[in-house]
């Protein structure tokens, strides 16, 4: 007689009156393939853990964002936020799609140049630009977004001696009704500081004031906050037109659109709460179009959207190392990818799913990384099936901030591969090895 298919024995407590946080038991949906390629095969070939990026998703997402704005506003320009993911291949995809570059350091600035971005299509943001950085940016005709008065004074001083008039914008911080308010960057709107900075720039005659910029925060769930911010920048533009008959060329709304990841402590999953590009576009463009800016002088709308453009395109793949039972009865599953690779697990309850499953039976599980550290928790309290050592896991939506903020700690950082639009796989960043470190370390003679 043929034997029955086996499934391990399971017992779960029924907690009456305490429904699942999301109102229902969500079914586990495994992710066996990415862009039609088997997760198992990818890892056999490129190792575990492994970051995978989908070029198709990057391009599709970018195009849908662009469409949302272009159908509502006459002139729109995206600038890729380098810090969100500055792998050269990723940047080049965005540049191919028409994105300029938004950088916040010399390192990122040089990366943008080496990716072929013309100097006058680089936006230089950030609170730390050295005198030398500013001189180089002026020489290249880049757009310098001034963060504070000290930077403004340095610029005025350089401009006095320079042949080219620096192109500048100011960064404005403001109350948009959301918390936390990002007030440490730029000049404040409500207390008049931003207007003060603009007057100084205009009266100096030494700087070419081309734009106004704000970045109101990140993972902003309220499109209305953008409406309010666009309103305030429009008001500054109107005041400049009135007082100086000067018309700014662009209004830059920064980044901050939410992605579909779920913030820690959020009651509903990010897939339910994340506004669409259309909703953000509606709020921003309505505010600009309905403002008193004269129709002939409508500024170009700049956007520095980061996470919302790339999160969905990235996957982290890993392998189960072991299962154990914690003293309080919870199951723990240890995998080979930890918080060193998944920095965003400090903010998000990342979805973690098996590549394949044999059973829908799940158990309350904590998923640990491989580091010898108590904080190395990829995911707390998730309903997860039991996987055996060697079986694969997939963490979707990790394209933003992980491949830049990851830490080289305890282990080598793994390969990153890109699946192109024809399903070819390219290693776009090689796994580290001893060599990676030996090239930059120096051993004093007496220790040799």
């Amino acid at each position: 007689m043929a034997k029955l298919a086996y499934e391990r024995p399971i017992i779960n407590r029924i907690s009456a009156g305490i429904p699942d946080k999301f109102g229902m038991q969500s079914r586990i949906r495994p992710i066996p393939q990415i862009e039609g390629l088997s997760v198992e095969e990818l890892m056999k070939k490129y190792g575990s853990p492994l970051f995978v990026l989908s070029e198709k998703t990057i391009r599709d997402t970018y195009r849908s964002a662009l469409k949302a704005f272009e159908t509502r506003y006459p002139s729109v320009q995206f600038a890729w936020s380098y810090k969100t993911n500055y792998l050269d291949s990723v940047c080049r995809i965005f540049h191919q799609e028409g994105s300029w570059a938004e950088v916040v350091s010399r390192f990122e600035y040089e990366k943008a140049l080496s990716n072929g971005v013309p100097g006058n299509q680089i936006i230089f943001n950030g609170p730390h630009k050295t005198r030398d950085d500013l001189e180089v940016a002026i020489e290249n005709d880049s757009l310098i977004h001034i963060d504070h008065f000290d930077e403004l004074y340095t610029l005025l001083e350089i401009a006095g001696k320079s042949a080219t008039k620096p192109k500048v914008a100011i960064r404005v911080n403001m109350d948009t009704g959301i918390y936390p308010r990002w007030e440490r960057f730029g000049f404040n709107y409500e207390n008049g500081e931003a207007w003060d900075a603009l007057n100084r720039i205009m009266l100096s005659g030494k700087l070419d004031l081309v734009g106004l910029h704000t970045h109101i925060g990140t993972y902003i769930l309220a499109p209305s906050a953008y409406g309010m911010a666009a309103n305030k920048l429009a008001q500054l533009a109107i005041n400049l037109a009135r007082k100086y008959n000067h018309h700014v060329q662009y209004i830059d709304m920064g980044g901050g659109f939410a992605s579909k990841n779920t913030l820690k402590g959020a009651y509903l999953p990010g897939t339910d709460t994340c506004p669409t590009f259309d909703e953000y576009a509606d709020a921003i463009t309505s505010a600009l179009i309905n403002s008193e800016i004269e129709p002939d002088h409508m500024p170009t709308l700049f956007l520095e959207t980061g996470r919302a453009l790339i999160d969905d395109a990235g996957y982290l793949l890993g392998t189960v190392i072991a299962n154990k039972r914690l003293p309080d009865g919870r199951r723990a599953t240890v995998v080979d990818a930890g918080v060193n690779l998944l920095f965003t697990s400090f903010w998000y309850d990342h979805q973690v799913v098996p590549a394949v499953i044999s059973s829908q039976h799940t158990e309350n599980t904590t998923i640990y990384g491989p580091l010898c550290m108590n904080i190395d928790i990829l995911r707390d309290a998730v309903m997860f099936p039991l996987l055996r050592p060697g079986e694969r896991i997939v963490i979707p939506r990790v394209g933003a901030y992980n491949m830049t903020q990851w830490l080289q700690f305890i282990t080598y950082r793994p390969n990153i591969v890109l699946i192109d639009t024809e399903q070819r796989v390219h290693v776009i960043r090689e796994q580290e090895n001893q060599n990676t470190f030996q090239t930059s370390e120096r051993i004093p003679q007496y220790l040799k």
Partner: protein, 80 residues
Amino acid sequence: MRIKRSVAVSENGFVFDSSTGDSFNLNGIGREIVELMKNGLEQSDITQKIIERYEVEPAIFEQNLMDFQSMLRQFNLLEE
């Protein structure tokens, strides 16, 4: 290792412990094991019965059984 007498198991795997009021869910094989335990079978006999009927390596099943029984203990379903 014995299941407490206050523990009742229904045919579809619903478990109720009348001494605590707690209730639980078992999958099919979990229910079979609890039944076997209630009938007083020892570990080795349970393993024998299961591997006769199911497609599973004895070593794997023994690990799973150990883990399962540790959950029964955790949930306070075993006699002290």
